[in-house]
């Protein structure tokens, strides 16, 4: 019984070893076959060269792209444009960053490769912006414990994020971001001889998912338009509150507003982008307008803060935070594809 078991194991190992050795032989033979095929190609024996290359082109190895390169050249020489193109597409898929060399590559080969579009399939990068982004508070319902007018004003913020992009084809793609976004605004009002200045800083993580349409395909500089929904998660928020009159001034710095704010906000965004290609990725310059559909104020706790209501005569309004941003970033290309 035991010897039968051992025999089965030995047989199985022998079979695996045989298959592995066959595979190894196929790999090592390919280099030599391609050398012979190259010679045949140079001698004009195109069909013989192609017959020698074809098995190699099916074998996964580091020289597989060379097999397709040689096949492309051989089919070009045979004026078989369809097969030449198919082989060239496969070659580019295997070696998407191949740079044509006029010293070695024929004009026909160069033109064929130039006619094949290669796009980054997946990209990943970092985007940063400081200064010119503007939070645009939009009051949908005003609440005041006394009769006075509030004035809202925009303030600059900051954002830093990770960006991922996926291209479906030359024109269409998707983008997903994870952005740490500091949104600031200010509200001023006067009441009973006092002047109040309340600024708020809200730190969100924004998760926009965008559809992107790119113009000027495969040019070094490309414009794009984008649109999509986003969700924001509030990390923390606080107010800086100043009350003053002619005689005295009192300040409440870094006064937490987390409990008065909703954890989640939603909206949509539109934008314009400019990509400048570099060797391993692209630089991006992007402007976006985000419009919120969520009220940031927690309605249930509007009247809970007695200090704000009685000492500062303040109640939170229903506010939606729209946002205008300009960002610069760099995207690394992870892999490529040849669109159908």
């Amino acid at each position: 019984m035991q010897s039968k078991f051992h025999r089965t194991i030995i047989l199985r190992f022998s079979l695996i070893a045989f298959c592995l050795s066959f595979s190894f032989k196929a790999h090592s033979d390919c280099g030599d076959n391609l050398i012979s095929a190259k010679k045949l190609y140079e001698e004009g024996k195109l069909d013989d060269a192609i017959n020698l290359i074809l098995p190699c082109s099916q074998t996964e190895s580091a020289v597989q792209w060379q097999a397709y390169k040689l096949l492309t050249k051989a089919y070009l020489a045979k004026q078989d444009d369809i097969n030449a193109r198919n082989a060239a597409v496969r070659m580019i898929e295997l070696h998407p960053t191949y740079e044509v060399n006029p010293r070695y590559d024929s004009k026909g080969f160069i033109n064929l490769l130039k006619s094949i579009d290669v796009i980054p399939k997946l990209s990943f990068g970092l985007t940063i912006m400081y200064g010119p982004n503007i939070t645009l508070p939009r009051v949908t319902k005003l609440y005041t414990p006394a009769i006075y007018d509030k004035t809202y004003s925009n303030k600059g913020g900051f954002q830093l994020g990770l960006v991922a992009g996926y291209n479906i084809n030359l024109n269409h793609g998707f983008g997903f971001n994870m952005i740490y976004n500091v949104k600031n605004y200010q509200v001023n009002y006067d009441w009973s001889g006092n002047s109040y200045d309340i600024s708020e800083s809200l730190r969100y993580i924004d998760f926009p998912l965008m559809y992107r349409y790119s113009f000027s395909t495969n040019k070094p500089v490309r414009f794009s338009i984008l649109a999509g929904p986003y969700a924001s998660v509030l990390v923390n928020s606080h107010n800086n509150i100043i009350a003053k009159n002619e005689a005295v001034s009192s300040e409440l710095p870094h006064y937490g507003s987390n409990v008065r704010r909703k954890k989640l906000a939603y909206g949509g965004l539109i934008g314009l982008g400019l990509n400048i290609k570099s060797k391993k990725g692209h630089f991006s310059l992007e402007t976006r307008y985000s419009r919120s559909i969520s009220n940031i104020t927690e309605e249930s706790s509007r009247y809970d803060n007695s200090l704000l209501m009685y000492d500062f005569v303040y109640l939170d309004d229903d506010i939606q935070l729209d946002y205008l941003s300009l960002s610069v970033g760099y995207h690394f290309y992870i892999n490529y594809k040849v669109p159908k």
Binding site: S28, G31, D32, L34, I35, K38, A62, V63, W65, Q66, L70, L94, H95, Y98, N101, R103, L122, F124, L126, L160, L162, M178, Y180, R203, I205, V235, N236, H238, L252, P253, H254, Y255, G256, N258, V259, K280, D304, N305, S306, L307, L308, F332, Y333, I334, N335
Partner: protein, 336 residues
């Protein structure tokens, strides 16, 4: 004498031009000679130009390859090794997309492996905290519950490879985290104390990679230093009699230890992507430092009077999930 000098300068100049034009064609000539079987003549034509001329990268690669092939013919393994190494130095990605090489040259090239020596990148993630009470300083015996506030971390990283499967990794990140302490009944009020801490984290740790088929697993062991930039606290006091709430806020920065130290453990997986590497990592940091400054416990008088809250001695343990992307800044060539 003047004419002799002019003639001499012209002669030397023409020699230089001749030598240059010779070298311009040397690769082409040497290729022809090699294909005709005149291998020694190919070496004699190409080698002086290879060592003396500033030629372009792709031409230099072709020249090194041709010289390696020539010496392979003479079975001069030392020279073949030298030129194979030159090929990889010129084009570190050569083995990924090689030319059509004889298997003997491929075997020599396969002796070398290009690996990242120094990688740089960026990371981001979310974290949670575990509040660790070291000593309570409440004026009365009050039961408290502690809840972690989810935090954020983002930063830059550098990784220095010690070998094929081990590395030293240094991160500089901005971290935002916090906790909530809830006290059910303090003299007729329910209190909720929320503290948010912003710090710069500098983890330095040893990483071990284990290669699977297309993925690598990694394990981390090391330490972490945190520098507290700022910290703020809000106390919500809700009366148990009439339900009114009063909020008091303060900066807790003067009462916090600026420098915090801890040990770090981590694990995760890595995947090569493009010219870099993606990581998904889970880390646990156990800080050994007391976050509170004991000597300053009673210094925040206004806040103490308004809230009757005394800082405990405490520490926070952090659990974070990070993603990172790193790309090769400097590579090295290793011979097996």
């Amino acid at each position: 004498m003047k004419y002799v000098l002019i003639l001499l300068i012209s002669f030397v100049g023409s020699l230089n031009v001749y030598a240059q034009s010779n070298c311009n064609n040397s690769l082409f000539e040497a290729s022809k000679l090699y294909e005709s079987g005149l291998v020694q003549m190919a070496i004699d034509t190409l080698e002086p130009c290879y060592t003396s001329q500033n030629i372009e990268k792709d031409e230099r690669l072709d020249a090194a390859r041709l010289l390696a092939l020539c010496y392979l013919f003479f079975k001069n393994s030392e020279k073949v090794d030298n030129y194979a190494l030159e090929m990889i130095q010129i084009e570190p990605n050569y083995q990924k997309h090689p030319f059509i090489d004889p298997k003997d040259l491929t075997a020599v090239l396969d002796q070398y492996r290009v690996e990242p020596a120094l990688s740089v990148g960026f990371m981001a993630g979310v974290s949670g905290n575990q509040f660790r009470l070291l000593k309570n300083y409440s004026p009365a015996n009050i039961s408290s519950t502690y809840t972690a506030r989810s935090g954020l971390t983002a930063g830059i990283l550098g990784e220095y490879r010690l070998g094929k499967s081990s590395a030293i990794r240094l991160i500089a990140s901005i971290n935002s985290y916090g906790y909530v302490r809830e006290m059910d009944n303090v003299a007729g009020t329910k209190k909720s104390y929320t503290e948010n801490i912003n710090s710069i984290g500098v983890p330095l740790f040893f990483r071990r990679y284990v290669t699977l088929k297309n993925w690598k697993l990694h394990m981390d062991v090391g330490g972490q230093y945190n520098y507290v930039i700022s910290s703020f606290a809000d106390m919500q006091s809700t009366s148990l009699f009439d339900g009114t709430t009063r909020q008091t806020s303060t900066s807790t920065s003067p009462y916090r230890n600026r420098s915090l130290y801890g040990g770090r453990l981590g694990f995760g997986m890595s995947k090569t992507a493009g010219t870099g590497q993606f990581d998904l990592n889970i880390s646990y940091v156990r800080f050994i430092s007391n976050f509170a400054v004991p000597e300053a416990r009673y210094d925040n008088v206004d806040f103490l009077l308004a809230t009757q809250y005394f800082d405990p001695d405490f520490s926070l343990n952090s659990i974070a999930i990070n993603i990172s992307y790193q790309f090769e800044a400097i590579h090295r060539i290793v011979k097996h």
